[in-house]
């Protein structure tokens, strides 16, 4: 699914990623941990093509992301769901309008899109708020909408960067449970967090980064 070969990335003279190599197989759940500035976000960014690595190669579903042209990046992103810490929702649009956007972009027909949106909103427990503007929702609800938007086009890979960073402990449990359910349905997950509660609850393979290097790579408890 994802293979990284000696990936390095520098910002001016700071090392963000230093010779990172590992692979993620289809259906795996990988938790990327490490302190702030360890390179977790940069690693996710090079995987979804927002950053170009200075060295190394990244294969995502057999496509070399490092060599993809700008015009090909949107098509790569359509195969994956992306959830970020700061929600990234269109605050003036309704829950429905936010979640249906990836389907509009991909040209899915209106009726089918409606059905799929309602299905994912039900799955994240937000179907009753489809007409509410996202700007008035709580942080936990906004993050659930982000997750709904990320999975509405049934991606085979879900990338999440500190998805519980803005949430309290109870909401964190709720969101992690949502990720566990998505993973149980066969979606590959790469989740970056420095929250130990999330690491324990997700019970996946843990890749620990420090100063841009992979320091440990621990398989999930069976």
């Amino acid at each position: 699914m994802i293979q990284l070969f000696h990936v390095s990335k520098f910002y001016d003279r700071c090392v963000a990623l230093d010779d990172v190599s590992f692979r993620i197989d289809k259906g795996e759940c990988v938790i990327l941990t490490g302190p702030s500035g360890a390179g977790k976000t940069t690693l996710l960014k090079v995987i979804f093509g927002a950053e170009i690595p200075d060295a190394g190669q990244i294969l995502v579903q057999n496509r070399n992301v490092a060599r993809l042209r700008g015009g090909a990046i949107p098509y790569l992103r359509r195969t994956m769901g992306i959830v970020l810490q700061n929600f990234q929702l269109l605050q003036k649009k309704t829950v429905y309008e936010n979640v249906v956007l990836p389907l509009i972009i991909q040209g899915v027909k209106r009726r089918e899109a409606r059905q799929r949106v309602m299905d994912v909103l039900k799955a994240v427990g937000m179907d009753h708020k489809q007409r509410v503007r996202t700007g008035v929702l709580s942080a936990g609800e906004q993050q659930r909408i982000c997750i709904a938007r990320a999975i509405v086009n049934s991606p085979i890979l879900l990338l999440a960067d500190e998805p519980t960073g803005n949430l309290d402990a109870d909401l964190t449990i709720e969101i992690v449970e949502l990720f566990r359910r998505i993973h149980a349905e066969g979606t590959t997950i790469l989740l970056a967090t420095h929250n130990q509660q999330v690491v324990e609850q997700m019970n996946g393979r843990v890749v620990h980064l420090q100063e841009g290097r992979v320091v440990t790579d621990t398989e999930a408890d069976s």
Partner: protein, 298 residues
């Protein structure tokens, strides 16, 4: 891609940025009005020149006492000339009568003379294809060589001057049109850039979920095109209003009685040209503004 969604987004952009959009429309309208005024001046001058040119006659003056044979020879020669459409013989008596009719006060001067001093002539109407200076002078030169012809006259000089003025206007319209087009492009491009700036976060989100640069850019291009078209429409309304007022005033003045055909014209093509120019400028400037979006990676 859903065209309706993209159109709705464009309309939403226009609503959200209505202040900037209004400024863009008004400024576009004023620049297009300036351009329109120039185009109208040019077209009207060209119309007047064309009308006057089509009235140009060549008068072939015959020597005093020219025989019927001479007249017949001149007319036969004119029949073979492709430049001559019709030719009419004007006798000395007819010339005197016409002079008296046209200049009743001056005709008194002729009354004291023993004989009619006006010569007989042949008036030639010309084909529009031969109205240029070179053809005319060559034609006149050929007629001068005919036996019995004393002088060949045609009022070309001032029409030439008018043609020259029109050609300067033509050049001026192109130069001013280009300058105003650049100004309009800058104004609309800035409006679109502001629109892009206010929706920076939204664009980031769209990129994140796999929107192509073209998908993101289309609503802004539609926005610019609508803005340009509205500017063009407003300029048309302003120009047409001022034009009709001007035309009514001229009509009321009575200066053009008998020559109404040279009154100012506002061709339908000008209306089309203004709106289309507005649309094209709007579309072009928004494409310029969103060009970076098409190439951006993040």
């Amino acid at each position: 891609m859903r065209p309706l969604y993209l159109l709705r987004e464009a309309m939403h952009n226009l609503r959200v940025n209505r202040g900037n959009v209004l400024i863009g429309i008004v400024t576009t309208a004023f620049t297009l009005v300036c351009f329109g005024v120039f185009v109208l001046l040019y077209l009207n001058l060209k119309n007047v020149t064309g009308t006057l040119q089509s009235d140009i006659e060549v008068i072939v003056y015959l020597e005093p006492g020219a025989s019927e044979q001479v007249v017949s020879l001149v007319q036969k020669r004119l029949d073979t000339e492709p430049a001559a459409v019709t030719s009419t013989f004007v006798s000395k008596e007819q010339a005197l009568q016409e002079f008296s009719e046209q200049f009743p006060e001056e005709s008194l001067l002729l009354e004291g003379m023993d004989a009619n001093p006006l010569p007989a002539s042949v008036v030639v109407n010309l084909s529009p294809r031969f109205l240029d200076t070179e053809s005319l002078s060559a034609f006149a030169e050929r007629l001068k060589q005919l036996p019995g012809v004393t002088h060949v006259a045609y009022s070309q000089d001032w029409v030439d001057t008018l043609t020259l003025v029109v050609s300067y206007f033509e050049l001026g319209a192109v130069v001013i049109g280009l300058i105003l087009a650049m100004a309009t492009v800058t104004i609309i491009a800035n409006t679109i850039r502001l629109s892009l700036h206010t929706r920076k976060e939204e664009i980031e989100i769209l990129r994140l979920i796999g929107a192509t640069g073209v998908f993101i850019a289309i609503p802004y291009v539609i926005e610019g095109t609508i803005l340009g078209a509205m500017g063009g429409g407003l300029s048309l309304a302003l120009l047409k209003g001022v034009f009709e007022f001007f035309r009514l005033e001229l009509n009321a003045s009575g200066w053009f009685v008998g020559v109404e055909h040279i009154l100012p014209i506002f061709p339908r093509q000008v209306s089309f040209l203004l709106v289309m120019t507005g649309m094209l400028l709007g579309c072009g400037s928004s494409v310029l503004s969103v060009f970076g979006l098409m190439k951006a990676r993040n």
